[in-house]
């Protein structure tokens, strides 16, 4: 029991460090605290890693912390063979509400696009993900020839700006055609 609680504690200490460095040192170089390195080494140990990844204990509890992450909006413009728009939409079709909740968790991965340190491999992987989603949307339209997908960062004004009548903005991050 004490080993188990120690593992949970270690996961959370490391998670707090990761959250702190990710927020305050996002695009900067830093030397991690020795305690973070110790926790990481302990959790990277094969047996521990296997244990936590197969029991769910590898999760931290810093939801919306240290900051609420930005969210994204995908806009799919489905076009026919004459390049005329058939429909424009923002989500694929699902039968259940919970499926939408699950689908939108994918968008947290898009934060990699904003990270200057992210490598080309990761960007290519992100493009593949967007492509797969776009093709799934396109499948719903038998007459569709192509789909233009735009990835927007959803920027909502802070309290003060909103009180001064500023409106939410969609900031274009990338666009694709499949």
């Amino acid at each position: 029991m004490f080993c188990h609680l120690f593992i949970i504690l270690t996961v959370n200490i490391k998670g707090s460090f990761d959250g702190y460095y990710g927020f305050y040192f996002a695009n900067k170089k830093y030397n991690p605290h020795p305690l973070h390195n110790i926790c990481k080494a302990f959790l990277d140990y094969n047996a521990i890693n296997y244990y936590v990844s197969n029991t769910g204990f590898d999760t931290g509890y810093g939801f919306f912390a240290p900051n609420v992450a930005s969210d994204f909006v995908l806009n799919f413009t489905i076009k026919d063979e004459n390049n005329q728009m058939i429909e424009s939409r923002t989500l694929p079709s699902f039968n259940n509400k919970e499926s939408f909740v699950r689908f939108t968790t994918t968008f947290t991965f898009f934060l990699e696009k904003l990270d200057k340190k992210s490598n080309q491999g990761l960007n290519d992987y992100l493009k593949i993900i967007v492509k797969q989603i776009s093709l799934d949307v396109k499948k719903e339209y038998p007459k569709a020839k192509s789909v233009d997908t735009k990835m927007y960062l959803y920027h909502f004004p802070d309290l003060n700006d909103y009180a001064n009548n500023q409106k939410p903005k969609l900031i274009l991050i990338d666009s694709y055609e499949f």
Binding site: I13, G15, G56, A65, P92, I128, D136, D158
Partner: protein, 319 residues
């Protein structure tokens, strides 16, 4: 003589400390661990897992199958090879001549059956082990679609395996007619209490290190995310005219979480703190539409802190 006295005093304090730790984790002769929390946890978690799975069943292929909206060969690129995922199970069984359709059907039937078995307490531990395997393979295979409820589900199933979940109010007890010897359940209760205390403490700590939680901006941003507040469409515009409200809401959440281990450990404050925590999760459900996540957190809270500990002939209220 003086040094002998000091040594004897230190030894006495150490013994008292060890006795206190022992009493904290294990039942004494006078106290009997109340087993209701184990039954409650097992039935509610089993039910939640079942309902949660049924809630996405008609979209199962689109979310989890090999040709899901994000196909398995794409989503598995980030998954270490030693992790058994649902798409890898499909590939393995296809190599043995078993079709994906059959594998998926068997998976779904097994998942639902194990959930029901856990609820009624039939082959409880085995069902929980199998269900944990199935659930983790699903989550790891589609990690892009996983969120908080999935991780808590995995942990809950692990605890159902660990706890004597099939020993009380269960079909197992009826069929196997085990000896009704005393089982000290207090260590399991303490484990759950300490885990949830650690979880909330770090949740609060991680928030307090973010400056947007000090000024209400974190609350404001969260409630205005594009995919939040879709069900009830509550108009929060008025908060921009009264920024003190999101500021207080942010600090309230930090205080509830950060001081959870302290105030849940004090008998006089436990009830109010439990109520505040549950209200917080109800708020999360309403605003972020994360109904299943809120449910599982409420189940954990009630399992850990709602039930009574019986001491001798006197009931010592845990609340």
């Amino acid at each position: 003589m003086n040094s002998n006295f000091v040594f004897s005093n230190q030894k006495k304090k150490k013994n008292q400390f060890l006795v206190a730790v022992n009493d904290f984790f294990f039942s004494t002769q006078l106290s009997i661990g109340n087993t209701d929390f184990i039954v409650f946890f097992r039935i509610l978690i089993g039910s939640l897992v079942l309902v949660h799975f049924l809630s996405i069943l008609s979209d199962f292929d689109k979310l989890f199958a090999s040709q899901a909206i994000i196909p398995a060969d794409v989503s598995s690129l980030l998954v270490p090879k030693h992790i058994i995922t649902f798409p890898r199970i499909i590939s393995f069984l296809e190599s043995k001549g078993i079709s994906e359709y059959f594998t998926t059907l068997l998976f779904q039937i097994s998942y639902i059956t194990c959930s029901i078995f856990i609820v009624v307490g039939f082959l409880t531990r085995f069902s929980a082990i199998l269900l944990l395997f199935l659930q983790v393979s699903l989550v790891k295979g589609s990690s892009l679609f996983a969120y908080g409820v999935d991780f808590f589900t995995s942990m809950s199933l692990f605890y159902i395996i660990l706890f004597p979940s099939g020993r009380f109010y269960s079909v197992d007890n009826l069929i196997f007619k085990r000896d009704q010897k005393f089982i000290d359940v207090k260590p399991f209760l303490r484990l759950l209490q300490l885990h949830i205390a650690i979880a909330y403490f770090f949740s609060g700590f991680d928030k307090i290190i973010g400056y947007n939680w000090w000024n209400g901006e974190a609350i404001w941003k969260a409630i205005n995310l594009p995919h939040s507040n879709q069900d009830f469409q509550i108009n929060f515009d008025f908060l921009s005219q009264m920024p003190i409200i999101p500021l207080l809401m942010g600090w309230a959440i930090i205080i509830i979480e950060l001081f959870y281990p302290l105030f849940m450990n004090i008998t006089k404050t436990r009830k109010i703190w439990l109520t505040l925590t549950i209200l917080m999760h109800i708020g999360i459900a309403i605003i972020f539409n994360l109904y299943f996540f809120s449910c599982i957190m409420i189940i954990w809270n009630l399992s850990a802190f709602y039930f009574r500990i019986v001491t001798g002939n006197t009931q010592q209220k845990s609340l």
